[in-house]
Protein backbone atom coordinates (compact mmCIF):
# COMPACT_ATOMS: atom_id res chain seq x y z
CA UNK A 1 0.00 0.00 0.00
CA UNK A 2 2.62 2.55 1.12
CA UNK A 3 6.27 2.25 0.24
CA UNK A 4 9.07 4.62 1.15
CA UNK A 5 12.50 4.06 -0.37
CA UNK A 6 15.77 5.73 0.51
CA UNK A 7 14.28 8.80 2.14
CA UNK A 8 16.70 11.55 3.06
CA UNK A 9 15.53 14.57 5.00
CA UNK A 10 17.80 17.46 5.91
CA UNK A 11 16.58 20.36 8.02
CA UNK A 12 18.79 23.35 8.81
CA UNK A 13 21.86 21.39 7.66
CA UNK A 14 21.03 18.56 10.10
CA UNK A 15 20.33 15.15 8.63
CA UNK A 16 17.11 13.89 10.25
CA UNK A 17 17.09 10.55 8.45
CA UNK A 18 19.14 9.11 5.65
CA UNK A 19 18.23 6.14 3.46
CA UNK A 20 15.03 5.41 5.36
CA UNK A 21 13.12 2.56 3.72
CA UNK A 22 9.94 0.86 4.86
CA UNK A 23 6.66 -0.51 3.63
CA UNK A 24 3.21 -0.56 5.13
CA UNK A 25 0.52 -2.99 4.05
CA UNK A 26 -3.25 -2.53 4.13
CA UNK A 27 -4.71 -3.11 7.58
CA UNK A 28 -1.47 -2.32 9.42
CA UNK A 29 -0.74 0.26 12.07
CA UNK A 30 2.80 1.59 12.30
CA UNK A 31 3.89 3.13 15.57
CA UNK A 32 6.54 5.75 14.91
CA UNK A 33 8.68 6.68 17.86
CA UNK A 34 11.80 8.72 18.54
CA UNK A 35 13.16 11.47 20.74
CA UNK A 36 12.03 15.07 20.34
CA UNK A 37 13.60 16.46 17.18
CA UNK A 38 14.36 13.01 15.75
CA UNK A 39 12.30 13.82 12.65
CA UNK A 40 8.95 12.12 13.31
CA UNK A 41 6.88 15.12 12.28
CA UNK A 42 9.13 15.78 9.27
CA UNK A 43 8.68 12.17 8.15
CA UNK A 44 4.92 12.48 8.58
CA UNK A 45 4.90 15.65 6.47
CA UNK A 46 6.98 13.89 3.81
CA UNK A 47 4.50 11.01 3.81
CA UNK A 48 1.60 13.45 3.47
CA UNK A 49 3.33 15.05 0.48
CA UNK A 50 3.60 18.40 2.26
CA UNK A 51 7.38 18.23 2.44
CA UNK A 52 9.61 17.00 -0.33
CA UNK A 53 12.40 14.75 0.96
CA UNK A 54 15.86 15.64 -0.41
CA UNK A 55 16.13 12.12 -1.82
CA UNK A 56 13.96 9.04 -2.07
CA UNK A 57 10.57 8.04 -3.27
CA UNK A 58 7.21 7.60 -1.56
CA UNK A 59 4.42 5.75 -3.31
CA UNK A 60 0.86 5.09 -2.20
CA UNK A 61 -0.97 2.38 -4.16
CA UNK A 62 1.85 2.61 -6.71
CA UNK A 63 1.22 6.32 -7.26
CA UNK A 64 3.56 9.15 -6.35
CA UNK A 65 2.54 10.58 -2.99
CA UNK A 66 2.22 14.10 -4.49
CA UNK A 67 -0.79 12.89 -6.48
CA UNK A 68 -2.42 11.07 -3.56
CA UNK A 69 -3.46 13.87 -1.21
CA UNK A 70 -7.12 12.84 -1.24
CA UNK A 71 -6.22 9.29 -0.14
CA UNK A 72 -4.55 10.60 3.00
CA UNK A 73 -5.94 11.90 6.25
CA UNK A 74 -3.25 13.99 7.92
CA UNK A 75 -3.72 15.39 11.38
CA UNK A 76 -0.58 17.15 12.49
CA UNK A 77 0.40 19.46 15.32
CA UNK A 78 -1.61 22.19 13.67
CA UNK A 79 -5.24 21.21 14.07
CA UNK A 80 -6.72 23.26 11.18
CA UNK A 81 -9.24 24.63 13.67
CA UNK A 82 -10.10 28.30 13.26
CA UNK A 83 -10.59 29.62 16.77
CA UNK A 84 -13.08 32.28 15.66
CA UNK A 85 -15.46 29.67 14.28
CA UNK A 86 -17.54 27.19 16.27
CA UNK A 87 -16.86 23.45 16.35
CA UNK A 88 -19.88 22.95 14.09
CA UNK A 89 -18.64 25.42 11.46
CA UNK A 90 -15.09 24.07 11.61
CA UNK A 91 -16.47 20.60 10.98
CA UNK A 92 -18.83 21.81 8.24
CA UNK A 93 -16.06 23.58 6.31
CA UNK A 94 -13.68 20.67 6.65
CA UNK A 95 -16.40 18.39 5.23
CA UNK A 96 -16.88 20.83 2.33
CA UNK A 97 -13.15 20.99 1.71
CA UNK A 98 -12.91 17.22 1.62
CA UNK A 99 -16.18 16.96 -0.31
CA UNK A 100 -17.59 14.58 2.28
CA UNK A 101 -21.00 14.37 3.87
CA UNK A 102 -21.69 13.72 7.52
CA UNK A 103 -24.36 14.47 10.08
CA UNK A 104 -22.88 17.27 12.16
CA UNK A 105 -25.07 16.58 15.22
CA UNK A 106 -24.18 12.89 15.36
CA UNK A 107 -20.50 13.56 14.86
CA UNK A 108 -20.28 16.26 17.50
CA UNK A 109 -22.18 14.03 19.89
CA UNK A 110 -19.60 11.27 19.39
CA UNK A 111 -16.91 13.42 20.99
CA UNK A 112 -19.21 14.93 23.61
CA UNK A 113 -19.13 18.41 22.09
CA UNK A 114 -22.74 18.83 21.01
CA UNK A 115 -23.60 21.20 23.92
CA UNK A 116 -20.56 23.34 22.97
CA UNK A 117 -21.05 23.06 19.22
CA UNK A 118 -21.98 26.68 18.56
CA UNK A 119 -19.51 28.64 20.66
CA UNK A 120 -16.23 29.83 19.11
CA UNK A 121 -13.57 27.16 19.57
CA UNK A 122 -11.25 29.68 21.27
CA UNK A 123 -13.40 29.18 24.38
CA UNK A 124 -12.79 25.41 24.35
CA UNK A 125 -9.98 23.65 26.22
CA UNK A 126 -6.95 22.29 24.36
CA UNK A 127 -8.34 18.76 24.65
CA UNK A 128 -11.75 19.79 23.34
CA UNK A 129 -10.14 21.54 20.35
CA UNK A 130 -8.12 18.43 19.65
CA UNK A 131 -11.35 16.39 19.73
CA UNK A 132 -12.86 18.70 17.11
CA UNK A 133 -9.83 18.09 14.89
CA UNK A 134 -9.96 14.34 15.45
CA UNK A 135 -13.64 14.25 14.41
CA UNK A 136 -12.30 13.94 10.85
CA UNK A 137 -11.38 10.34 11.57
CA UNK A 138 -15.06 9.43 11.85
CA UNK A 139 -15.94 10.67 8.38
CA UNK A 140 -12.75 10.43 6.38
CA UNK A 141 -12.70 7.94 3.56
CA UNK A 142 -8.92 8.14 3.24
CA UNK A 143 -7.14 4.80 3.29
CA UNK A 144 -4.01 6.10 4.97
CA UNK A 145 -4.19 8.00 8.23
CA UNK A 146 -1.13 9.97 9.30
CA UNK A 147 -1.61 11.03 12.88
CA UNK A 148 1.06 13.13 14.53
CA UNK A 149 0.66 13.01 18.31
CA UNK A 150 -3.12 12.48 18.18
CA UNK A 151 -3.39 11.86 21.93
CA UNK A 152 -1.99 15.27 22.95
CA UNK A 153 -4.32 16.87 25.53
CA UNK A 154 -6.85 14.02 25.19
CA UNK A 155 -8.15 12.44 28.40
CA UNK A 156 -8.07 8.69 29.18
CA UNK A 157 -11.59 7.98 27.94
CA UNK A 158 -10.88 9.86 24.73
CA UNK A 159 -7.71 7.83 24.16
CA UNK A 160 -9.68 4.60 24.52
CA UNK A 161 -12.21 5.82 21.93
CA UNK A 162 -9.42 6.74 19.53
CA UNK A 163 -7.81 3.35 19.92
CA UNK A 164 -11.14 1.70 19.07
CA UNK A 165 -11.29 3.88 15.96
CA UNK A 166 -7.77 2.81 14.96
CA UNK A 167 -8.84 -0.82 15.27
CA UNK A 168 -11.97 -0.24 13.18
CA UNK A 169 -9.95 1.47 10.46
CA UNK A 170 -7.26 -1.21 10.23
CA UNK A 171 -9.91 -3.97 10.33
CA UNK A 172 -11.58 -2.35 7.33
CA UNK A 173 -8.33 -2.44 5.35
CA UNK A 174 -7.04 1.03 6.10
CA UNK A 175 -3.55 1.80 7.37
CA UNK A 176 -2.33 4.14 10.06
CA UNK A 177 0.99 5.68 10.95
CA UNK A 178 0.88 7.23 14.38
CA UNK A 179 3.49 9.10 16.38
CA UNK A 180 2.97 9.31 20.09
CA UNK A 181 4.83 9.47 23.35
CA UNK A 182 1.93 7.46 24.77
CA UNK A 183 2.53 3.69 24.91
CA UNK A 184 0.17 1.94 22.50
CA UNK A 185 -1.19 -1.54 23.31
CA UNK A 186 0.75 -4.36 21.57
CA UNK A 187 -2.37 -5.83 19.95
CA UNK A 188 -2.98 -2.55 18.15
CA UNK A 189 0.52 -2.14 16.71
CA UNK A 190 1.63 -4.17 13.70
CA UNK A 191 4.91 -2.42 12.99
CA UNK A 192 7.26 -0.19 14.90
CA UNK A 193 9.73 2.31 13.54
CA UNK A 194 12.11 4.21 15.77
CA UNK A 195 13.91 7.27 14.49
CA UNK A 196 17.22 8.04 16.15
CA UNK A 197 18.16 11.58 17.00
CA UNK A 198 21.17 12.59 14.89
CA UNK A 199 23.49 15.47 15.69
Amino acid sequence: MLSAKGLVCIRNERILFDGLTFELESGQLMYLTGANGAGKSSLMRCLAGLHQPQEGQIRLFGQDIKDSGDKILFIGHKTAINEWLSARLNLRYWLSLSQLAGDEETLLNKVGLLPLADIPTRYLSAGQKRRVALLRMWVSQAKLWLLDEPFTSIDVSGIAVLQQLFKRHTDSGGSIIVTSHQILPDDLVDRRLELEYRF
Binding site: K78, L85, Q99
Partner: protein
Protein backbone atom coordinates in the same frame (compact mmCIF):
# COMPACT_ATOMS: atom_id res chain seq x y z
CA UNK B 1 -19.05 21.74 -11.82
CA UNK B 2 -21.88 21.76 -9.26
CA UNK B 3 -19.33 20.60 -6.67
CA UNK B 4 -17.01 23.45 -7.55
CA UNK B 5 -19.81 26.01 -7.29
CA UNK B 6 -20.81 24.58 -3.90
CA UNK B 7 -17.15 24.66 -2.83
CA UNK B 8 -16.88 28.28 -3.94
CA UNK B 9 -20.07 29.29 -2.08
CA UNK B 10 -19.00 27.47 1.09
CA UNK B 11 -15.62 29.17 1.25
CA UNK B 12 -16.92 32.61 0.44
CA UNK B 13 -19.38 32.01 3.31
CA UNK B 14 -16.51 30.93 5.58
CA UNK B 15 -14.53 34.09 4.83
CA UNK B 16 -17.61 36.29 5.37
CA UNK B 17 -18.34 34.59 8.70
CA UNK B 18 -14.74 35.11 9.79
CA UNK B 19 -14.91 38.78 8.80
CA UNK B 20 -18.10 39.24 10.84
CA UNK B 21 -16.41 37.64 13.86
CA UNK B 22 -13.22 39.69 13.44
CA UNK B 23 -14.77 43.08 12.76
CA UNK B 24 -11.72 44.92 14.10
CA UNK B 25 -9.57 43.46 11.32
CA UNK B 26 -12.23 43.98 8.68
CA UNK B 27 -12.91 47.68 9.31
CA UNK B 28 -9.27 48.77 9.76
CA UNK B 29 -8.45 49.34 6.03
CA UNK B 30 -11.78 51.09 5.57
CA UNK B 31 -11.15 53.46 8.49
CA UNK B 32 -7.65 54.16 7.21
CA UNK B 33 -9.03 54.97 3.74
CA UNK B 34 -11.66 57.37 5.11
CA UNK B 35 -9.18 59.04 7.49
CA UNK B 36 -6.71 59.77 4.67
CA UNK B 37 -9.54 61.22 2.58
CA UNK B 38 -10.42 63.53 5.46
CA UNK B 39 -6.82 64.48 6.29
CA UNK B 40 -5.68 65.19 2.75
CA UNK B 41 -7.78 68.32 2.10
CA UNK B 42 -6.91 69.58 5.57
CA UNK B 43 -3.18 69.51 4.75
CA UNK B 44 -3.37 70.70 1.11
CA UNK B 45 -5.78 73.55 1.69
CA UNK B 46 -9.20 74.50 0.37
CA UNK B 47 -8.28 75.28 -3.28
CA UNK B 48 -10.87 73.15 -5.07
CA UNK B 49 -9.08 73.08 -8.46
CA UNK B 50 -5.89 71.66 -6.94
CA UNK B 51 -7.84 69.14 -4.84
CA UNK B 52 -9.83 67.96 -7.86
CA UNK B 53 -6.61 67.51 -9.85
CA UNK B 54 -5.05 65.47 -7.05
CA UNK B 55 -8.17 63.45 -6.23
CA UNK B 56 -7.67 60.52 -8.67
CA UNK B 57 -4.08 60.02 -7.49
CA UNK B 58 -5.21 60.22 -3.86
CA UNK B 59 -7.94 57.65 -4.59
CA UNK B 60 -5.51 55.19 -6.17
CA UNK B 61 -2.66 55.56 -3.66
CA UNK B 62 -5.08 55.49 -0.74
CA UNK B 63 -6.68 52.31 -2.05
CA UNK B 64 -3.29 50.59 -2.43
CA UNK B 65 -2.06 51.68 1.01
CA UNK B 66 -5.31 50.62 2.68
CA UNK B 67 -5.12 47.21 1.05
CA UNK B 68 -1.52 46.83 2.21
CA UNK B 69 -2.94 46.75 5.75
CA UNK B 70 -5.18 43.79 4.94
CA UNK B 71 -3.04 41.82 2.48
CA UNK B 72 -0.57 40.25 4.96
CA UNK B 73 -3.53 38.54 6.63
CA UNK B 74 -4.83 36.97 3.43
CA UNK B 75 -3.40 33.54 4.25
CA UNK B 76 -1.57 34.00 7.56
CA UNK B 77 -4.35 32.76 9.85
CA UNK B 78 -5.00 29.67 7.72
CA UNK B 79 -1.27 29.00 7.57
CA UNK B 80 -0.83 29.26 11.32
CA UNK B 81 -3.78 27.02 12.23
CA UNK B 82 -2.98 24.37 9.63
CA UNK B 83 -6.01 24.90 7.37
CA UNK B 84 -3.76 25.43 4.33
CA UNK B 85 -2.19 22.00 4.89
CA UNK B 86 -5.66 20.48 4.62
CA UNK B 87 -6.34 22.53 1.47
CA UNK B 88 -3.26 21.01 -0.17
CA UNK B 89 -4.40 17.50 0.77
CA UNK B 90 -7.93 17.99 -0.54
CA UNK B 91 -9.19 16.73 -3.87
CA UNK B 92 -9.93 20.20 -5.25
CA UNK B 93 -7.00 22.09 -6.73
CA UNK B 94 -5.36 24.54 -4.28
CA UNK B 95 -5.39 27.13 -7.08
CA UNK B 96 -9.17 27.08 -6.97
CA UNK B 97 -9.07 27.71 -3.23
CA UNK B 98 -6.71 30.66 -3.82
CA UNK B 99 -9.04 32.07 -6.48
CA UNK B 100 -11.91 31.78 -4.00
CA UNK B 101 -9.82 33.60 -1.41
CA UNK B 102 -8.89 36.38 -3.87
CA UNK B 103 -12.56 36.92 -4.71
CA UNK B 104 -13.68 36.91 -1.08
CA UNK B 105 -10.83 39.30 -0.21
CA UNK B 106 -11.98 41.57 -3.02
CA UNK B 107 -15.60 41.44 -1.81
CA UNK B 108 -14.66 42.10 1.81
CA UNK B 109 -11.89 44.64 1.53
CA UNK B 110 -11.70 46.10 -2.00
CA UNK B 111 -15.34 46.65 -2.93
CA UNK B 112 -16.11 48.71 0.23
CA UNK B 113 -13.09 50.91 -0.55
CA UNK B 114 -14.23 51.43 -4.15
CA UNK B 115 -17.66 52.44 -2.85
CA UNK B 116 -16.12 54.72 -0.19
CA UNK B 117 -14.09 56.48 -2.86
CA UNK B 118 -17.29 58.45 -3.54
CA UNK B 119 -16.12 60.57 -0.57
CA UNK B 120 -13.61 62.10 -2.99
CA UNK B 121 -16.54 64.04 -4.44
CA UNK B 122 -17.28 66.13 -1.29
CA UNK B 123 -13.81 66.07 0.30
CA UNK B 124 -11.66 66.63 -2.80
CA UNK B 125 -14.14 68.56 -4.97
CA UNK B 126 -13.98 65.84 -7.62
CA UNK B 127 -16.76 66.11 -10.24
CA UNK B 128 -19.17 63.20 -9.93
CA UNK B 129 -18.79 62.09 -13.55
CA UNK B 130 -15.01 61.91 -13.14
CA UNK B 131 -15.47 59.96 -9.89
CA UNK B 132 -17.63 57.46 -11.75
CA UNK B 133 -14.79 56.84 -14.24
CA UNK B 134 -12.27 56.71 -11.38
CA UNK B 135 -14.47 54.18 -9.54
CA UNK B 136 -14.39 51.92 -12.60
CA UNK B 137 -10.58 52.06 -12.68
CA UNK B 138 -10.45 51.41 -8.93
CA UNK B 139 -12.83 48.47 -9.43
CA UNK B 140 -10.47 46.87 -11.94
CA UNK B 141 -7.35 48.02 -10.13
CA UNK B 142 -8.46 46.54 -6.84
CA UNK B 143 -9.01 43.17 -8.54
CA UNK B 144 -5.46 43.44 -9.74
CA UNK B 145 -4.15 44.40 -6.29
CA UNK B 146 -6.00 41.44 -4.74
CA UNK B 147 -4.63 39.03 -7.35
CA UNK B 148 -1.02 40.23 -7.25
CA UNK B 149 -1.26 40.72 -3.49
CA UNK B 150 -2.24 37.08 -3.08
CA UNK B 151 1.08 36.05 -4.64
CA UNK B 152 3.09 38.41 -2.43
CA UNK B 153 1.09 37.38 0.63
CA UNK B 154 1.59 33.69 -0.18
CA UNK B 155 5.33 34.18 -0.64
CA UNK B 156 5.61 35.81 2.78
CA UNK B 157 3.05 33.70 4.63
CA UNK B 158 5.66 32.07 6.87
CA UNK B 159 7.43 35.34 7.59
CA UNK B 160 6.40 37.28 10.66
CA UNK B 161 7.89 40.51 9.29
CA UNK B 162 6.04 40.26 6.02
CA UNK B 163 4.11 43.52 5.68
CA UNK B 164 7.04 45.82 4.82
CA UNK B 165 8.50 43.34 2.37
CA UNK B 166 5.04 42.74 0.91
CA UNK B 167 4.78 46.44 0.02
CA UNK B 168 8.20 46.33 -1.64
CA UNK B 169 7.20 43.27 -3.65
CA UNK B 170 3.77 44.48 -4.64
CA UNK B 171 4.17 48.18 -5.43
CA UNK B 172 6.51 47.80 -8.45
CA UNK B 173 4.12 45.23 -9.94
CA UNK B 174 1.30 47.80 -9.79
CA UNK B 175 3.07 50.40 -11.95
CA UNK B 176 1.38 49.26 -15.23
CA UNK B 177 -2.04 49.42 -13.55
CA UNK B 178 -1.30 52.94 -12.29
CA UNK B 179 -0.18 54.04 -15.76
CA UNK B 180 -3.36 52.77 -17.44
CA UNK B 181 -5.54 53.99 -14.55
CA UNK B 182 -4.18 57.52 -14.77
CA UNK B 183 -4.44 57.44 -18.59
CA UNK B 184 -8.16 56.69 -18.22
CA UNK B 185 -8.69 59.56 -15.79
CA UNK B 186 -6.64 62.00 -17.84
CA UNK B 187 -8.68 61.17 -20.94
CA UNK B 188 -11.95 61.48 -19.01
CA UNK B 189 -10.91 64.87 -17.57
CA UNK B 190 -10.26 66.15 -21.12
CA UNK B 191 -13.54 64.61 -22.37
CA UNK B 192 -11.58 62.25 -24.65
CA UNK B 193 -12.46 58.57 -25.25
CA UNK B 194 -10.95 56.39 -22.53
CA UNK B 195 -12.12 52.93 -23.55
CA UNK B 196 -8.71 51.72 -24.76
CA UNK B 197 -6.73 52.26 -21.53
CA UNK B 198 -9.76 50.97 -19.57
CA UNK B 199 -9.79 47.76 -21.62
CA UNK B 200 -6.03 47.38 -21.16
CA UNK B 201 -6.54 47.73 -17.40
CA UNK B 202 -9.32 45.12 -17.55
CA UNK B 203 -7.07 42.80 -19.57
CA UNK B 204 -4.33 43.20 -16.97
CA UNK B 205 -6.80 42.34 -14.20
CA UNK B 206 -8.04 39.22 -16.05
CA UNK B 207 -4.46 38.14 -16.78
CA UNK B 208 -3.45 38.54 -13.13
CA UNK B 209 -6.58 36.72 -11.91
CA UNK B 210 -5.67 33.84 -14.22
CA UNK B 211 -2.04 33.39 -13.24
CA UNK B 212 -2.04 34.61 -9.62
CA UNK B 213 -3.88 31.58 -8.11
CA UNK B 214 -1.38 29.18 -9.67
CA UNK B 215 1.61 31.27 -8.58
CA UNK B 216 0.22 31.81 -5.06
CA UNK B 217 -0.51 28.07 -4.68
CA UNK B 218 3.10 27.26 -5.59
CA UNK B 219 4.37 29.89 -3.15
CA UNK B 220 2.26 28.45 -0.33
CA UNK B 221 3.39 24.93 -1.17
CA UNK B 222 7.02 26.03 -0.84
CA UNK B 223 6.25 27.62 2.51
CA UNK B 224 4.41 24.54 3.77
CA UNK B 225 7.43 22.40 2.91
Amino acid sequence: MANLVNYYIQFIKRDLQLAVRQKHEFVLPLLFFVLILILFPVTVGPESGLLARLAPAVGWINLILSLLIALPRMFSEDYENGWLEQVFLAAVSPSFFILTRILSFWLLYCLPLVICSVLLVPFMSLPFDIWWVLAQTLFLGSLLVAALGSVASALLVASRKGSGVLALLLLPMLIPALIFGSAVIEAAQQSLPYLSPMLLLAALAVFCLTIAPVAAAQAIKINLG
